[in-house]
Symmetry: D3
Subunit: 247 residues, 6 copies
């Protein structure tokens, strides 16, 4: 059954009026020498489609451009190919898209965020809408916050978890991309690299040396499609639990 809004006719869409609409938001951002720029969009879209199956929801066209990747958690403007939106633009974009679903009568909205830096601006857009539409239920959740402890233990079986700030283009993202879009992953280009010192502050202009030349903040070694599948299913299960509770 087709659950992607972009693939539906308007009459197909109309049948889902009472369903939850799931909006995946990614980014276009450097993800090391082995992963495509759209990793955050690929993962949030893939998860959104899995969640939709379980809760009879539908999936909005993915927002492919996200907020500026911070120097400390992605490399930001230092790397070519990172195409960012300003904060106001992302806020307006999310606000307009969500409001249109509300104007079409939808009352349950789930935003699946795949890019850490997006979150504050997505939440601001939702807060402004929520004041206007108090009878709509909005849930926003980043996928890494939905992983169970059991799954974490299995994924970081040989490599220690470096914290989410550094888990960029590393084991979790590489495994999930190997699961959702294996043809776009170049494991042969993978190198061992990582951030040497984690700064406790933000500095502008960002010194180039903050991020390793490869763009890898932590090792992606031990990534696999199996781990990706395990993560995807674990994360989906937890999103579904949230959706069933809140909607």
């Amino acid at each position: 059954m087709e659950r992607r809004i972009q693939a539906m006719t308007w009459k197909d869409f109309e049948r889902f009026k009472d369903a939850a609409v799931i909006v995946p938001i990614g980014s276009t951002e450097q993800h090391g020498p082995h992963l495509p720029l759209s990793v955050d969009a690929i993962i949030s879209t893939g998860l959104a489609e899995m969640i939709a199956e379980k809760i009879n929801g539908i999936v909005a066209p993915t927002i492919h451009y996200g907020y500026k990747s911070a120097p400390l958690s992605g490399g930001g403007p230092i790397f070519p190919g990172t195409i960012d939106l300003n904060g106001i633009t992302l806020m307006s974009l999310v606000k307009d898209v969500l409001e249109e679903f509300i104007r079409d009568g939808m009352k349950k909205i789930l935003v699946v965020n795949g890019h850490y830096e997006n979150e504050a601006f997505i939440l601001e857009a939702i807060d402004l809408l929520s004041r206007q539409y108090p009878d709509v239920k909005f849930v926003e959740a980043s996928w890494w916050d939905q992983i169970s402890e059991e799954a974490m233990a299995k994924v970081f079986d040989k490599v220690e978890f470096p914290g989410w700030a550094l888990e960029h283009a590393a084991i979790a993202e590489t495994s999930l991309t190997l699961y959702f879009a294996p043809e776009l992953v170049h494991m042969d280009r993978l190198v061992e690299d990582g951030v040497k010192e984690v700064l406790t502050y933000h500095v502008y202009p960002a010194p180039k040396e903050i991020v390793p030349e490869t763009g890898l903040l932590a090792t992606a070694r031990t990534s696999s499609a199996e781990k990706g599948k395990l993560l995807a299913e674990d994360i989906t299960k937890n999103y579904v639990k949230v959706a069933l509770k809140e909607f």
Copy 2:
């Protein structure tokens, strides 16, 4: 060779620094009972990839949400599933995305527009950028303006061309979608319908009867994948001619 930026690593992207970047912009808008909501995105993306091949360019992630579809040329807010952006939002979105490519050093930008109502806001974004970056060359062109007279004659062989305002979800769009994404076209759901009287003005709130209940503004009869191919190749040829002249 991979030309879609979303599928490239940042190092792949870096190799195209001197190339033209092609930005397809669509919409999420009703397109009658037989076509998917994302027709405008599908067509502009498909064309962008064909053009990229010919001019050694690269293709940015498609902008899937466009400006409000006008009641008279698409049905606008009357139909469920039409997910529009406000004018300011589209302007900011296009401006930010294009500016990021410029900050990455790119000097040749081609916007392939697939939704009529987008154009004024895209041009405003480009005008504001052009004042700031006078050494960058921007070309914006809607696909229907690139069709040759010969192709028009072949496509509208049995049905009279109703004018582009009404050519919504009709022969040209149906044929192009049959070519680019046949699995999303439901020719069996096609009905004969069309606008009875074309208004010479805009009225708000839009009366429901302005657009036929099906959302079809003109007939899609005689559409075919062959006509879609013919159109796609003709349009591509003309975009390439423009690109070669301007870049």
Copy 3:
């Protein structure tokens, strides 16, 4: 009877609370060597006053500054004396003015547009207001869309109609200005000129050679005050028809 709001006292105005308010919007833009910069304002104002007489409406102070004239349909920033607003500014200006009439209790608003490039931004302003004030009826119409086929045949009796994109400072505008403000037309400075090749796309920065040095996109030969009168009456008749139908 005074129908221009600017010439009324507030007590005069108050008597028209149930009337339609007509808002003429023009521009300050090059119109060749023989026409004044305010042609678009002169024509929309002149028509607005004629329409007001017929529908017992009143006419708001003219908006003299419009959106950027596009290189392809007016010459834009290439010519001195073209004084444009940014898109957001025009939208805010139109929105504020119309909203004030609504706050004064008026429920019928007719915008008479005299500058092609204004239209998308006027419509955006109206769309945003219409969501807020669903009981107000807004009509927006550009004057060239209201000309009957009969009038066109008489006006383009010797010269072929070049399409509205090129009908800039040409026969229709020259004739209408000869009718509304003959003292501002310099027929003696008129030269034969015109666009050689019509581009099917927009390019920035605009190459100077896109528009002839005179600023004339098509011939103004055969223009006359009589043709202007004929056009003005024909257009007024059609605006009145629209107003009677919609208000």
Copy 4:
């Protein structure tokens, strides 16, 4: 010699590239039972044309809509026919118009303000431009600040000057309108009225009783076209003095 930009062709305009451009800004606001809504525009336009003659300057199309008339100095939203702009809109409008003249190469800009409440927003627009264009000289001056003591004594010969806050639709404005547009003044409708108590603060929502029912804040008795002429010439002389000093 034609000095109104709206009446010039672009070639006429071009000849004034080194001249000062004078921008009159008014409002559409209640001015009692005897004066038209556009008094502020009429006076600032009339003065601008007189100044232009003396300094070989040119006059931009008048901005007819101004900032919200305050309850205490005009009656604001209490009276029908007062059509105000929001602060941001007026700022953007003034900024865009002035910037266009700068882009056309002009370096001397004089804003003639005819509506008290406009001033803060005009100055903000100018301040923002001035940071961007440090080589442009901007002068902004409200006409009432340019009256000499001698002229004041002659104008307020029988009636005591009530202060500018109350001089709304009173002797100075009535006399100037009698001079610039006598056909729009209805001296026969004049009544004796005025504000009883001047508040030292602003209160919202504005209580209706703040302003007399007629909209008159002070008497207009003893107004005359002769006083208008005297004022106009005195004010012009002082504007010219400023212009000669600053440009």
Copy 5:
């Protein structure tokens, strides 16, 4: 009894739900060689606390940054240490803060303004809110407008009152700061200085010589803590009168 919101717990605050909230707004602006940059904040805060005592109100955290100090009434950007907000920023700031009190259920809001140039932007913020919340009563008043004639006579006993435009860092502000924050006043650094010629217009860029090198627009001689006390009590009495009348 604690009346400063910043010093209260949320439960303390809750007890004042039906009280008036008083919002002091100042600036960070040069005030001559003897007064601190925050004079406007010190005075408006001091007065707000005195008023709160009398009307059982509470005092919001002071807004320390204000709108641009004009060259003619403070010296503006010419002096280091003047830290200004753009007009839109001050409007948004005031609007957000006031709206939050309204969302907490408060219906009586008094803004105590301590910086002349703030007023237009504060009023715009209030006007926009007032349209949305018609049942809230807003009063805005600058402190210098609340001084009685008797107090003025006593304060300007030996020095002639120069008008409020020049009373910057002069007798009234110096006396009030001597009363509210004597430890921040350096009477030993005081010099005799003042504006020689008052301009009747605004000019940008502001010529340095408009304001004396010291930043003093008029003499501060004869200032004293006693005069400050007298002023503070007189002003408070008049604010209280206004509050009792309007709330």
Copy 6:
């Protein structure tokens, strides 16, 4: 030596032209039954002044209003007394203030953030400025990120550290407020309370039961002025280390 800008004259300020300017940003937000609404401002101001002493810097007037406190980390709009800014407003406010220091010639800016939710909007403001002023060095750092492991061990000696999301009005903030403003802390009102279940997602409208009725997210037991001193000195040491490295 006076290091608070608000207490300096403009000549005092001028002497620090080459110094670092430190900008403390707080919030007005519920902090349980025992702490004042301005805890975040008190702590960031206190630390800013300590840092200024060590690096010969100066301290800007504190920004007392911050971004919306999220339901999950502070209780947000559920509690009276929380006075938040919209995201755009905080961005504009920070941007304007910082830009003014830059215009005064300062090249070293340190933002001391005391409210978690502020960070994304502060960084956006800085990013936009940094593009415009590449020769200015900006450092932004939240105080909790500057605590050493040793200090953490001493502060959380008897109570387990609950994570920073829940450390709201708990041991660290209570101890620091006991150190900086003991007169505003009501230890007698302290109760034992805390969040039962930490949500892994954001939901709007925020259900009241997300946050305990007291507003306490974790225990404040074992807080003391000594711990506050220890924390303040430890944090200051680390800020100073950062400043010495980056400036």
